[in-house]
Amino acid sequence: MNANEFDVIIIGGGITGAGTQRDCAMRGLRTLLVERSDIATGATGRNHGLLHSGARYAVNDPESARECIEENMILRRIAAHCIDETDGLFITLPEDDLAYQARFVEACKNAGIAAEVIDPAEARRLEPAVNPELIGAVKVPDGSVDPFRLCAANMLDAKLHGGQVRLYTEVTGFIREGNTLKGIHTRNLQSGEEADYYAPLIVNAGGIWGHHIAEMAGVQIGMYPAKGALLIFAHRVNNVVINRCRKPSNADILVPGDTVCVIGTTSTHIPFEECDNVAVTPDEVNLLITEGVKLAPSLSSTRILRAYAGVRPLVSADNDPTGRNISRGIVCLDHEERDGLKGLITITGGKLMTYRLMAETATDLVCKKLGVDKACETATTPLPGSEESSYEAVAQKIWETPSTAQKAMASRLGTRASRIRTDNPYDRALICECEEVSVGEINAAIERMDVSTLTDLRRRTRIGMGTCQGEFCACRAASLLAKAHACVEKERADLADFLNERWKGNYPISWGDTLREAEYTQWVYKHVLGL
């Protein structure tokens, strides 16, 4: 078989694409994934990082709620190193209707979500940061999940099962014979190189951009881009997820993750043209702060680290192009059946929480069409790195008396941390002090995880995500990348891009310590280092 021929081609390097590639590869298919940017650049990397219990949807969208809680329990088993089992609270404030709580708990029970009404005093003990004025609380099995890590681990496992990944590769057109798609034309956006790939099936997992992919193939999916803005605070103010117990609304979820916490979101319909470059507006920042403080009052005196926004890939029901009846449920379209176009499947809708189920649904359809009879195993097979449930136990097994940096590394990589060289001081040297990322870990990511740019490196290692926002680690890591890619000139431009990208999340909130840090960083790069 030709090197450009596969059983299935997956378009999109977000969590849906990566999960689908993993599932297909585990069922023995020869897979290729193409992504026009880096992994997790769309909605995958631009959300709360909330491991939903499903409680949020219990009242209005019971089907999604049931999917969420089932996947929640599965992800705890298969993605341990990507998950923090924090639990969650749904609080009722004096301005909310306490009667909603009973309806909410009932709906949770019907969906199979363990929801326990607790005393407000108990809630304050469980989560000291919670608004002390709460008049009601319900405990649910929420948690937090690192979507970058989850996406990278899925892709890595697909590769371990023989899958191929081409990042920064854009689909420029479909190869078509009559009513059948035979393959894709692609162009590498970095090298300009063009290539054709062939497969009897192509899965469109492009998230909101899947709209255009479908259009390119001549079929329509009525997608509805809904922008959501979020703020990251520089401390982990809360250790338990805090939600408002009311009909889902703006800025009513506060999620702890690693060393920070995230408040969100808003929901605004935006035109497709804006999906590539969503910016957070001052009004959104004000709203997020005002509402966030109601969940945890100490947020008012906590430094804001970044503002960011993502676009939810919502799908209008087929006969409802207005977008009024939008569910968060999974949409799997067989375009052969639906539009008479052979060779294309679209998997969309859904959410980060249900990515694995989306992948399973799409892969089942792929297998059916290819006549492959092999059951899905992704619900029971741990992702690479997740074979142990506690990162502390992992760190101890590898190093006996692990340093804080080694523990941090084990929390990022899980059992895969044992592959990072730490035997000599040069590999142990820290490049990013905020997140304690070493030379060894960065070089391993560059070697094995398809890293082209500093921003790619950030998504895989967390460099530049800490309180200094890349002030020091950016140019240190740039030297390592320049060496690995043997090109300083490109790296110089990459460093400038990275700083611009970090600034994009800082300027909407540039006051207080953020402005202070910004003054320092901008002065140092411009006038001291001479970038």
Binding site: S438, A482, V488, E489, K504, W511, W523, Y525, V528, L531
Partner: protein
């Protein structure tokens, strides 16, 4: 406690004002939080070419030698910028191509000196480069700890073993006519950079590292030492909290450490720096000066504070405390008779005084002259 002049801020502007006033016979005090822009000083006095007459002797007496020649200086990421008045160990070249072949020397495991960026920058100018890493057993202790290989820690070791570096470089040197070294020499012993230059048979160029800046910390140390030799009182690690002002005259300030022992003065100088040094503070609604509540020139629309491009000139960096032509700071539009603002807290409100280190020096000397008039 009563002084002729109380200075708030112990960075470049505050120290130069303090030394200048002590030289003229005043009894002054400096209140310093310990955090100032000298920690990331490039070694070049932006916006100055020639030293004002008083600056020259003031620095000379502090043991700091300066020089200027028209041309360019080399930046740590391998680019060139026009020359300005610089510390003696900052190399200034008539043009970018300062050598034929350059040996770039770094230390094994040191990530804060950008040897590959430098080599590429020099090659672009037609110079051949060879990068070599020194593996010195004396640095092993630092290497063992993952965050110890930083400029100041290395500089402390180098004060002891710089002669060994000279020997190693001599061994490495082939036909190169220039050697590029990280700026981690002469933290305590200021003669070291000069002695390294004498010991290596090629043009020796020191180039900057990631902050903290070794020449900056050295400059701070020497100026502070000189200030104290002249009898100045440097209150390290203290912070001005509030001021007592009556009828447009400042009487005293309260500090964190001295609390009820107010610092009284005939004159006050505010040299507390920009946002980084906390001379200016901000919240979502305003930019303000925290000690005296002075008038600040800024755009009340917070979306106008920044430019979306990281590398652009940022409007917020231009904001500063309002003053009259003699640099008396304004409160509610009225100049306080005995309070002057100098250095970065002025932002770009006085473009004729230059920017950064140049602004610090010019405004400090001007205010010192005003006070002694």
């Amino acid at each position: 406690m009563k002084f002729d002049t109380v200075i708030i801020g112990g960075g470049l502007a505050g120290l130069v004002a303090g030394i200048s006033l002590q030289r003229k016979g005043q009894n002054t005090a400096i209140v310093s939080t310990g955090q100032n822009a000298l920690h990331f000083f490039s070694g070049s006095f932006e916006s100055l070419q020639e030293a004002p007459p008083e600056m020259h002797s003031l620095f000379e007496e502090a043991g700091i030698r300066l020089h200027y020649r028209e041309g360019v200086r080399l930046m740590p990421l391998g680019t060139f910028r026009p020359s300005c008045l610089s510390l003696e160990d900052i190399s200034l070249f008539p043009s970018e191509k300062f050598a034929r072949k350059v040996l770039v020397v770094n230390f094994m495991g040191y990530h804060d000196f950008f040897s590959s960026f430098l080599a590429e920058g020099l090659e672009k100018q037609g110079m051949q480069c060879r990068i070599r890493f020194l593996n010195l057993p004396e640095l092993e202790k630092l290497e063992q700890s993952p965050s110890e290989m930083r400029s100041v820690q290395i500089a402390r070791t180098m004060d002891r073993i710089w002669e060994k570096v000279v020997q190693e470089v001599r061994i490495l040197l082939k036909d190169e006519d220039a050697v590029l070294l990280p700026q981690v020499f002469g933290l305590q012993d200021t003669s070291v950079p000069g002695r390294i230059k004498q010991g290596i048979p090629a043009q020796v160029v020191f180039c900057g590292t990631l902050p903290p800046s070794v020449p900056g910390i050295r400059t701070q140390m020497l100026l502070k030492r000189r200030y104290e030799v002249l009898g100045g009182t440097y209150l390290m690690g203290d912070e001005a909290l509030e001021a007592h002002v009556h009828d447009g005259v400042v009487h005293s300030i309260r500090t964190k450490n001295l609390d009820s022992h107010y610092l009284e003065g005939s004159h006050f100088i505010l040299a507390s720096g920009g946002f980084f040094s906390k001379g200016l503070r901000s919240n979502p609604f305003s930019i303000y000066e925290p000690v005296f509540g002075l008038d600040v020139e800024y755009n009340p629309d917070r979306n106008a504070w920044y430019d979306k491009a990281f590398a652009a000139d940022q409007p917020y960096m231009g904001y500063g405390v309002k003053t009259d032509a003699q640099l008396h700071a304004l409160a509610d539009g009225i100049p306080l008779k005995n309070l002057y603002a100098i250095g970065s807290i002025l932002g770009q409100t006085h473009p004729e005084l230059g920017s950064a280190a140049g602004l610090a020096i010019r405004s400090a000397l001007e205010v010192s002259a005003q006070i002694k008039k």
